[in-house]
């Protein structure tokens, strides 16, 4: 009964508040009237009676407030009042409110952005069901890590069923699509049909492969990616069952994958079955180019997996295989995102610092504002507001600001993510999977609340302690407590900013060092063209060689060409070819097979790319199929096997025939600027064995050094197309390829640079704020000093010295902290140590200069003080 009545009263109190208040007013004034009447009856005059009645009452507003305090719904009502009042006061101070909201939005937004990326990429991992059960198999052999599998090895592994529920394999392949418009080379993958089962995904349209489609004769089916379906087939549902021509042969489309499916990489445009029993794989059973992925049987732990893989590895090797192989498993998540782990965490820490700086900044702003509002708060207290009520009201204001900052921050995070994906997605494909989900939203909510508390609680508590007298008198001196808090906050800001800037400077120096690495050749003014030779038009080595000869002659005659050559595997072209080799007279120890990168190259290749020849000569036209077999080795290989003599004339072989070494070339960085070079063996095109050439010669990479690269590019395409109109040709420059190869370090350096700029700006604003405030507090003192004979420059020095005192401690603390924290950057720094002295000296020096700059404006204002007017200041 009581509960029902209370609920009814609650509703009435909230909804009909006006009426309730009016009644209360009437009731209290009625009480006063009755009391007055009673006193008149006792003999007092009307005026005295009324006065006494009011005194007895204790104050009309006070009584009403006491009633309100016990009223049901009072809490909600006051919160609502606080909210409206808070919004009004914030509207009346637009600059303050906007500044706080902006600062918070930057801090919260950046943090939310990085959190989203870390969550999507690192925490959630690959988007397949139970993706933590997916593992890839790799092997190490002497001289080479992280080697792929051969068809024979895969089949042997497939027979072992102890650990894997399903085991699948895939390899990249070029598909020339020639039925929909211009012939276009699409990059796709040959996959065993069980791959989709292993991953646990289904097609969006149609179906995935059936197991029998892995057999020869049934394998001319294909699954399209969503982007190909959209771009080339206009998303027509009738594409299923349609025959399309790939690499000159008819394939039937059986399915289309969902838009977000991009296994194994974002460049996958279509998937076709890998017929492991078919001619392609059977002809090269020992060529290692298969990637293997499997799903663990339930109950198999990662530790057990590794032990089993070790054991099974010994069983799997072919009896005549002398190479010692070490097999191991890597989780798919680790493989896909392992190298992003450290950079992303560093960036996350960086935004954490930024957020803290932002909160410190806002706290300072709130303190300053609370100080300025002392008069208003004192009046509210005098009107009957309890300390608790004042704190609640100030906290509500902080809450409103935190909410606005949080919502704006969320907007920044959303836009920022879209921007990042736009600029970075091509080179950092993992970004494509980053999306804002419930976790990210909860995170934003959490840090907004935490931020609100952090910068709201302090000022709320200090401000509500306002003493009435000092406030109403109009003196706006802050207490020493508040002063010290402000300085402590700036100290924190400067320290954090210093750490962040040192980290940023380290990463920038590292990136600059990376950019300046000598790749071993001269990439300027070099145009490259990648031509894909389709099997049906170039079925054998002879046809490849014919094209090689005619195209080279044609390319060489183009205007502006200074040198031209071809190579099968271009540096930074994404491909390589490792093969075993032998040195005559230096047999390899047991269980070891020497391995080097093989590079069939044409005459003119070395001058075109700008690789220096250290000894001997480069290839000429006379190194043809009838001439004695020759090879050029790079310096690394030469020094390893012939440290004290010239290798010229010595014999080396990678196939049946011994080749005579005729030249030594400089080392070249082939796939990464920050990796070491490999041993390389160059051989002339015509001398490559036929059965090897028709396999490795599928990519013809033209390297053209030209005085006018832009026009040469167009001419090059025309020249190649003239020889074969159906050829798919990709033209780019060497510099562009190198540029793309360092996209990820570039990306993370940009990001930390942006965060550091934000942090530095905020720290400067913080310093500026405190010094400006200090100057206004000391107007009188400055005026007196000036009156007593101090020069303007004395005052300037005084204020700047104060600025220095304020910031030096923070910079020093930041320096020490950075010294200990920079070890976390070890894995992502290139070419400089984590305690790089130049950085650790230059950054603090710059910070001191910037801090002095931040204090300069208020200092200048201080020098303009007119002693006479300043004495009137309190």
């Amino acid at each position: 009964m009581s509960l029902f009545s209370r609920i009814a009263s609650l509703c009435r109190n909230l909804i009909r508040k006006g009426k309730v208040e009016q009644e209360l007013s009437d009731e209290v004034s009625s009480y006063v009237d009755l009391a007055t009447r009673a006193k008149i009856k006792e003999g007092l005059t009307e005026r005295d009676a009324r006065r006494e009645a009011l005194v007895d009452l204790g104050g009309v507003e006070q009584v009403k407030e006491q009633v309100r305090e016990v009223r049901l719904g009072h809490f909600l009502d006051t919160r609502w009042q606080d909210l409206r009042f808070g919004l009004r006061t914030l509207r009346k101070a637009p600059i303050f409110s906007l500044t706080v909201a902006l600062v918070l939005a930057l801090g919260i937004g950046s943090t939310a952005l990085m959190f989203t990326i870390v969550n999507s990429v690192l925490v959630q991992g690959p988007p397949y069901p139970q993706a933590d059960r997916l593992y890839m198999l790799w092997q190490n052999i002497p001289q080479e890590d992280h080697v792929t599998f051969s068809a024979r090895e895969f089949n042997a592994w497939k027979k072992q069923t102890e650990v894997f529920e399903t085991l699948s394999t895939y390899m990249g392949n070029g598909f020339a699509l020639s039925s929909a418009g211009d012939p276009e080379l699409l990059f796709g993958y040959l996959v065993t049909p069980s791959l989709f089962r292993t991953l646990g995904t289904n097609a969006a349209l149609g179906r995935v492969f059936l197991d029998e489609e892995g057999e020869v004769g049934k394998d001319h089916v294909v699954i399209l990616s969503h982007s190909v379906w959209r771009d080339k087939f206009a998303q027509r549902p009738d594409v299923l069952g349609r025959p399309i021509v790939l690499n000159g042969e008819p394939y039937t489309v059986v399915g289309v994958m969902p838009p977000e499916f991009d296994f194994p990489q974002a460049d996958a445009k279509l998937w076709a079955p890998a017929a492991l029993d078919g001619p392609f794989f059977q002809q090269h059973p020992d060529a290692h180019f298969l990637r293997v992925i499997g799903r663990l049987k339930s109950g198999v732990t990662p530790q057990r997996l590794q032990t089993e893989v070790d054991l099974l590895g010994k069983r799997v090797d072919a009896p005549d295989d002398e190479t010692s192989r070490h097999y191991y498993a890597v989780s798919l998540k680790e493989f896909a995102t392992g190298q992003l782990h450290n950079p992303l965490l560093v960036l996350l820490a960086a935004v954490g610092f930024l957020l803290l700086i932002a909160c410190a900044n806002v706290a300072n702003l709130m303190l300053a504002r609370a100080n300025a509002r002392q008069g208003e708060i004192a009046i509210r207290a005098a009107m009957g507001a309890s300390r608790r009520r004042l704190i609640a009201q100030l906290l509500t204001e902080a809450g409103v600001l935190a909410s606005i900052g949080g919502i704006a921050g969320l907007a920044i995070a959303v836009w920022g993510l879209d921007l990042l994906k736009l600029f970075g997605a091509e080179n950092i494909p993992e970004l494509a999977h980053a999306h804002l989900d419930r976790m990210a939203l909860s995170f934003v909510f959490l840090i907004s609340t935490a931020a609100g508390l952090v910068f709201g609680v302090g000022p709320a508590f200090t401000a509500s302690r306002t003493s009435f007298q000092t406030a109403l008198k109009g003196t706006t001196r802050s207490t020493t407590g508040a002063d010290r808090t402000r300085q402590a906050l700036v100290f924190i800001e400067v320290t954090l900013a210093a750490v962040l800037l040192i980290g940023c400077a380290l990463m920038m120096r590292s990136f600059l060092t990376l950019m300046q690495v000598d790749p071993g050749f001269r990439p300027e003014n070099v145009v490259t063209a990648n031509a894909g030779l389709m099997k049906e038009r170039y079925p054998d080595a002879a046809s490849i060689l014919r094209l090689y000869q005619t195209s080279l002659a044609s390319v060489r005659s183009l205007p502006g060409v200074q040198a031209a050559g071809t190579v099968t595997h271009l540096p930074f072209g994404g491909n390589d070819w490792g093969n075993g080799f032998e040195i005559e007279g230096q047999p390899a120890p047991a269980g070891v097979e020497y391995s080097a990168q093989m590079r069939p190259a044409s005459p003119g290749y070395f001058p075109a790319l700008g690789i220096s020849l250290k000894q001997g000569r480069e290839f000429t036209e006379s190194d043809n199929e009838t001439a004695p077999g020759v090879a050029i080795v790079n310096e690394m290989l030469a020094k390893r096997f012939w440290p004290n003599e010239s290798p010229l004339g010595k014999k080396i072989r990678f196939h049946k025939d011994w080749l005579s070494i005729v030249g030594v070339s400089g080392n070249v960085k082939h796939s990464r600027l920050d990796a070491n070079s490999d041993a390389e063996i160059y051989v002339p095109y015509p001398q490559v064995p036929e059965d090897v050439m028709k396999f490795v010669g599928r990519d013809m990479n033209y390297v053209v050094r030209s005085a006018n690269p832009a026009s040469t590019a167009g001419e090059l395409r025309r020249a190649i197309r003239a020889l074969d109109p159906q050829m798919v040709v990709k033209i780019t420059t060497m510099q562009a390829l190198i540029h793309d190869s360092i996209a990820q370090p570039r990306f993370r350096t940009w990001l930390i640079g942006i965060f550091s700029i934000f942090a530095l700006t905020l720290a400067c604003l913080g310093i500026y704020g405190v010094i400006a405030y200090l100057v206004t507090q000391r107007y009188k003192e400055i005026g007196i000093r000036l009156a007593l004979g101090a020069t303007r420059s004395n005052i300037l020095q005084l204020i700047l010295a104060r600025t220095l005192k304020l910031t030096a401690a923070g910079i020093l603390a930041g320096l020490i902290a950075a010294f200990f924290l920079s070890r976390f950057l070890r894995t992502i720094l290139f070419g400089i140590t984590v305690h790089d002295p130049i950085t650790f000296v230059a950054v603090p020096a710059c910070l001191i200069a910037i801090a002095l700059l931040a204090g300069y404006l208020p200092a200048r204002r201080a020098t303009r003080v007119d002693p006479v007017t300043s004495l009137r200041y309190e």
Partner: protein, 110 residues
Amino acid sequence: MKEKKADLLQGTLHLLILKALAAQALHGLGVSNRINQITKGTFQVKPGSLFPALHRMEESGWLKSSWGDSENNRRAKYYTLTKAGRRQLEAETEDWLTISVGITSALRAT
């Protein structure tokens, strides 16, 4: 009349108000006077305590109020006990008597 200011627990105030209104409807000042009367001058309830208590009890459903004319033809808010209020009065009276017997005997013990 000498006013003895004694600390009133809120619970006791509720009990006194219920008792004061048991006989007849009263307005705020009337309740205060009646409490003073029935406690023989021990308790003089100030408006600052009285009004909050009256409103709380009305929200709980023990009192109900209506506006009427007072002695000097001014409008005043009169409170009466509801049925629930009467039940509450009985319950609280019994509680109080039990407590006071217990405490009295405790104080008398040697």
